[in-house]
């Protein structure tokens, strides 16, 4: 068993044109910076990206959009990105907007082997168009399907050589759900430690879900809205 790879380039080398990939992060918080850079370098095209957001013009998934690598975004919120808007309006980019909780739960469902889940989010809205509804205890729910992603790319704070992951603060967000949800899961971590150094009680993603892991470098961790108390 050897899950450790040297770097992002090796980790993502078999991500092929047309693949469906989950990318962890909320806004620019907890995004897999190294893997995104490697995907940009590799130039993989026609990707379907499942990610809560689409980055900003010059960071995050925005970098992949600049290189026209993304065919479709599946997200809950895609503001703050002019190139995104341009590609969307020109018809170059397809976008599927999904309620945030539904997005999260559809990732989780894949990781739990649940083919579909019920959620009230979107009932009566255009999100419900063409979807099956069902009433439980007088409340209407939509049937939403588990995602089926070829790869998941996540960012964790610490990881060990068995693939166990621990996230930091709100950089957790979608990462553990996508780590569970991908058929092949690639984790980049700020600190990679030997098996046995992480507290087994404190693991957020058990290593069974992680196929490749590497220690990333040069994390920029850009802040979208720096708000301070003077």
């Amino acid at each position: 068993m050897n899950k450790v790879v040297n770097n992002a380039e090796t980790a993502i080398q078999d991500i092929h044109d047309g693949a469906t990939i989950m990318l962890g992060g909320f806004g620019l918080c907890g995004i897999p910076e190294n893997c995104i850079a490697a995907l940009v370098k590799k130039g993989t095209k026609n990707l379907t990206c499942i990610s809560n957001n689409a980055g900003v013009d010059d960071f995050g998934i925005g970098l992949m959009l600049q290189q026209h690598q993304v065919k479709k975004m599946i997200s809950s919120y895609v503001g703050e990105n002019a190139e995104f808007e341009r590609q969307l309006l020109s018809g170059e980019l397809e976008v599927e907007l999904i309620p945030q909780g539904t997005l999260a739960t559809r990732c989780m469902a894949a990781g739990y082997g649940m083919p579909a889940i019920f959620t009230p989010a979107g009932v009566g809205t255009e999100v419900a168009d063409g979807k099956e509804t069902r009433v439980f205890n007088g409340k209407t729910y939509l049937l939403e399907y588990a995602f089926d992603a070829d790869f998941a790319i996540v960012k964790a704070w610490k990881g060990d050589t068995h693939g166990n992951l621990i996230y930091k603060s709100t950089a957790r967000n979608f990462n553990p759900l996508m780590a569970m949800g991908g058929k092949i899961t690639i984790a980049e971590v700020e600190e990679l430690v030997p098996a046995g150094e992480l507290d087994p009680n404190a693991i957020h993603t058990p290593g069974i879900y992680v196929h490749r892991i590497f220690q990333g470098s040069n994390y920029e961790k850009r802040i979208e809205q720096k708000t301070i108390t003077k």
């Binding site: 808007e85 907007l97 909780g101 990732c107 009566g124 809205t125 979208e224």
Partner: protein, 217 residues
């Protein structure tokens, strides 16, 4: 007429000790500044935090610690982090006592529209649809009329819907309204605002019963 801070302050009076509260972006965020003395409220941020604290001082800014509005924040003693599925799980399970949201339109049956304007770039619903569909108590904080002077308290939403029949209360610069089977029930007038003005600016069904007290802030 209330300003934004006064709307937030009035909504803060709806808080009860021990409440878990989710505050949306805009006026709702300001509610945190007016939590009454002696009341402990825990703020939930749907990106994965219970116990959201104030903005950090410059030296404490942490890019890994943001709220659902992507602003840098802090934790408080007793905070807990979790993933986005559990975050919406606790919302869906009714564990969050109160959700305060902004809106573009509210209908007199509780429908809400707050995510999309046809013809404008659509940014997405974020967590709004999950919140409105799941929260057990939703208060909307918004301006009573739009920039063109048209009422935002309507018989029927004209914009794409975020959720059906979900809003329980609306607080605007003009007053406080419960959403009832008979429409918007006027509970309080903002200082200096007349019932006539509220009637004139409310397109949806409005219930005015008896003397309407002026709000105490």
């Amino acid at each position: 007429m209330l300003d934004k801070n006064q709307i937030a302050k009035r909504i803060a009076r709806e808080l009860k000790d021990g409440y878990y509260v989710n505050l949306g972006i805009g006026i709702p965020t300001l509610v945190a500044n007016y939590i009454p003395e002696g009341i402990a409220v825990t703020l939930q941020s749907e990106n994965g935090l219970l116990g959201m604290g104030p903005f950090p001082t410059e030296d404490k800014v942490d890019p890994d610690l943001i709220n659902a509005g992507k602003q840098t924040i802090t934790t408080l003693p007793g905070s807990a982090f979790f993933d986005s599925a559990l975050s919406f799980g606790m919302i869906r399970a009714g564990k969050v006592d109160l959700t305060v949201l902004g809106a573009m339109e509210v209908a007199d049956n509780g429908d809400i529209a707050n995510w999309k304007i046809p013809g404008k770039m659509v940014k997405g619903m974020g967590g709004a649809m999950d919140l409105v569909a799941s929260a057990k108590n939703i208060i909307v904080a918004m301006q009573h009329v739009n920039k063109a002077g048209e009422s935002k308290l309507l018989k029927k939403c004209s914009l794409p819907i975020t959720g059906l029949g979900v809003v329980k209360k609306v607080v605007t610069e003009l007053g406080v309204f419960d959403v009832t089977p008979d429409g918007f029930k006027l509970l309080e007038r903002a200082p200096g605002v007349t019932v006539e003005e509220i009637i004139a600016k409310t397109e949806g069904r409005l219930v005015v019963e008896g003397e309407i007290p002026e709000m105490i802030l």
